[in-house]
Each structure stands twice: as C-alpha cells, then as structure tokens.
C-alpha cells in the first residue's frame, strides 16, 4: 500500500546531500507541485538525475536555478542558462550521459543489474574511465547502474496501492525511476481507491511506490 501524504511531508523526506531522481522531459511528466515545494524549502547540496536540466521554469530546472544541486547526471543542459552558468563557473558538476544510456542505467539500478553493455559512446570521449568490451565482434562500453535515495515522479492516475498510469509523452523516465530509488514519491493528478484501476492497464506496479501526493 502506498501512503497518501501532504506535499510538505513529501519534501521533508528530501535531506541535504541526497541523490534524487526527477522525471520529466522538458517538464512534461515532472511533478511540478512537489518541485515547487522543494524550491520553497531550499534543501541543498543535492545530486540530481534527470533526462536534462529542462528550462529554468520547468521541472528539475527550477531546482537548478535555485542552486540546490552540487551535481547533476543528465544528457543535456542546453536550454537552461542557470545550469550553463553554474557549470561554467565550476559551481555545479555535470555528468553527461547519452539519453538512452541514462535510461538503461536507471533501469539497471532499479532492476538489480550490475551494469549493461551499450554500443553508445564507443570511440568517443565518453569512453574515458569506462571498460570497453568486445562481444561477438562488436565493441560495447560497460555502463553502471544509477540509484537514488528518492525519486520524485508524476502520474496521471494512481490508486491507493500505488499502481500508476501515465498519459502520452508524460511517461518518459517515470516507470524507470519509480523502481530505482529507496523512496518513491508520486505526484498524481488523480488518486483513486484500490481496485479502481484495471490490473492490465497499470504502467508502474504499486510495489515500486511508497508515497502519493495529490497533484
């Protein structure tokens, strides 16, 4: 059973120095209300994992603009001037990960894999510090799992057992992050009673979900 909590209770779980995953693709599918409350609270020294640092006024981008991260692990920072500025000034560490590799690393973290071999990045400067392995005549890089203390994600609909349904392109990294954090907090547009979601339509099973916040 997932527990329904207030937004204040949700952001109180995020402690200084934690690693958090934040869903969303240009903010679509990001838990904006929880993020706004976390900006308000100002918890800092965080490490953030997300597809990109979004825009300054959308999704994880707001937390960057408010200087709450010491490090971000993302595939792209180009549309958030706050990220660019802090990165160039040496105030923010940025680990660039190809988008598909990022998705697999988060999935590996959630699903107990020690790593995955991907052809992405072979022969590029991203190979630095990574093990290259040849399998069946083709080269791959060993990429390691990503996990987080807390995942902040967004669902369209949740039941009180934590089963989630997403909508259109708002799905993106949500199902992956749900499994990869010690604590998964979901902002849901709609929270319904257990039994009101057809078990065949569930996109993230409740076993991955700890807390629900009304969106």
């Amino acid at each position: 059973m997932a527990k329904v909590i207030s937004i204040a209770e949700a952001v109180d779980m995020v402690q200084e120095g934690m690693t958090i995953m934040v869903s969303g693709f240009w903010g679509i599918g990001a838990p904006e209300k929880v993020i706004d409350a976390l900006v308000e609270k100002g918890t800092g020294n965080l490490t953030g994992i997300s597809i990109s640092t979004s825009l300054v006024d959308r999704g994880i981008g707001k937390l960057v603009a408010n200087r709450q991260f010491k490090k971000v692990i993302v595939s792209y920072i180009g549309r958030n001037p706050a990220t660019m500025e802090q990165y160039e000034a040496g105030q923010l560490e940025v680990e660039f990960v190809p988008q598909g590799t990022l998705a697999e690393r988060i999935r590996a973290g959630g699903f107990g894999l020690g790593g995955i071999l991907t052809p992405t990045g072979v022969g590029t400067e991203l190979e630095k510090g990574k093990q290259r392995m040849t399998i069946d005549g083709k080269d791959y890089l060993l990429e390691l799992p990503l996990k987080a203390d807390i995942a902040l994600i967004k669902a369209h609909k949740a039941d009180k057992s934590g089963n989630l349904i997403y909508r259109k392109a708002a799905r993106n990294t949500n199902p992956l992050m749900a499994a990869a954090a010690d604590i998964t907090i979901v902002q849901a547009d709609e929270i319904v009673e257990t039994g009101m979601i057809d078990p065949d339509e569930v996109m993230t099973p409740g076993i991955f979900v700890d807390y629900l916040v009304q969106g």
Binding site: M1, R107, G109, G110, F111, G112, L113, D159, K160, S161, N163, A179, T194, G195, P199, D200, V202, P205, G206, I207, F208
Partner: protein
C-alpha cells in the same frame, strides 16, 4: 499438528503488514494459508503479477489467462498489477520483495543453498529460484529438518548450489535457525523438541542462543 503445517505457520509469523513476498513450491506455498489476522501480505507471481488471490471458487471466476507460476488457476486481488517477465524478475533481482520462502535440499552453515539439482537424478531446471535467492531482501528456507533421516542442514553443501551465502532464516518442524555472520544460531524450538534432538538431527555446527524460545505455533 502436521509437520508441514507447523513449518508454514511459523514462517507466516515472519511477515509484517504490507510485505511483498514470493512463495516457492511445496511447503512455502502453504505459508499463504497462515498469515496472521490483521497482516496483509502481497504475493508476487513470477509469471507476471502481484497480489495473487485464492483459487477461483467456481467456473465463473476461472480465467484461462490467469495462472500462477505453478500452473494453478488463481485470482488477482484488488491492488494487483500484471507485467511482463522482465519487470517480474526486475522486481525480484532489484530487491523489491521483502522476502522469498523456498524449500531446500541442503543448507550449510555459511548460508549457502542447494535446491535445484540432485546428483545422479535428472535435472529438471532452475526456474526462478536462482533469481529469487540473489534478489529478495530475505531468503527464508521452509523445509523438513532431515531427509529420510539424513541432516539437510550441513557443514558444507555437497550438491550443486542455487546461491552463495543467500539464506537468512531456516524454519523446520524442529527449530528456527538464523544465519548470522558467526554461523547458524538456534533461536527457537518446536513445542516438545529438545536442543539435543536438534543437534542430533543437524550436521552443521549450531550456536545456541542464550535465550532459546519455544515456537509460538
């Protein structure tokens, strides 16, 4: 009380409200019948869902597409969800199950487990057992203490392993034994069973808890 019933009843006390658990075939399956009142335990089925419900009461409840991993027609309880095999074993491998209950051929004093292959017998395969012992938060072995009089709790497993140092707790019709860093700790005795009887039926060395209790079954 029947041996198997006693084991299942004791194992069922290990869960707390809200736990997700996978039960293996045999005695472990019986555990589901003894979950204490007020405790909700959600059962995971390897073939791809959570919240296994009871067998269908009649034809009208029977769904041809709904079996458990042992090929029995079952139902799904409210709050359950279906998923594919990769997600199902992602749940297992990723540490999302609070416990798994499995049978054993041998368990040794390092917590090694052998339960998939008997030397000299036909190998039937592995199924999901190796995944379960590598991933579940707690591995609970539910088995009879001996097999045809021979100890199953041994110094060192002699038959092919299912998992290395993976067992957390052993529950038999005689005793409850915890696998600790220092070795096997005898914590509880079944009603009427003595420490000497357990020692005689066990090949592995046992550490006696200073506070051995009687199983509450």
């Amino acid at each position: 009380m029947d041996k198997k019933e006693l084991i299942a009843k004791r194992v069922a006390q290990e869960f707390k409200d809200g736990d997700f658990v996978n039960l293996g075939i045999g005695i472990p399956t019986l555990v589901g019948n003894y979950i204490p009142e007020g405790i909700n335990v959600y059962l995971h089925s390897e073939n791809g869902f959570t919240h296994i419900g009871p067998m269908p009461k009649d034809e009208s409840e029977l769904d041809p597409d709904l079996i458990n991993a042992s090929d029995q027609h079952v139902t799904i309880l409210p709050g359950g969800a279906f998923f594919d095999s990769a997600v199902s074993f992602g749940i297992i491998r990723g540490g999302h199950l609070d416990a798994t209950v499995l049978g054993a051929l041998e368990v040794d004093q390092e917590g090694n487990l052998a339960n998939w292959k008997m030397p000299g017998k036909k190998t039937v395969g592995i199924g999901g057992g190796m995944d379960l012992v590598s991933g579940a938060k707690r591995v609970i072995i539910a088995m009879e203490h001996t097999s045809k009089g021979s100890p199953k709790i041994v110094k060192k497993c002699e038959i092919p392993l299912t998992g290395l140092k993976c067992v957390d707790l052993i529950v038999t019709e005689m005793a409850v034994i915890e696998v600790t860093e220092n070795g096997l700790l005898l914590k509880e005795l079944a009603p009427g069973v003595t420490v000497d009887q357990v020692l005689a039926a066990t090949e592995a060395e046992l550490i006696l808890s200073p506070d051995i209790k009687t199983m509450n079954v």
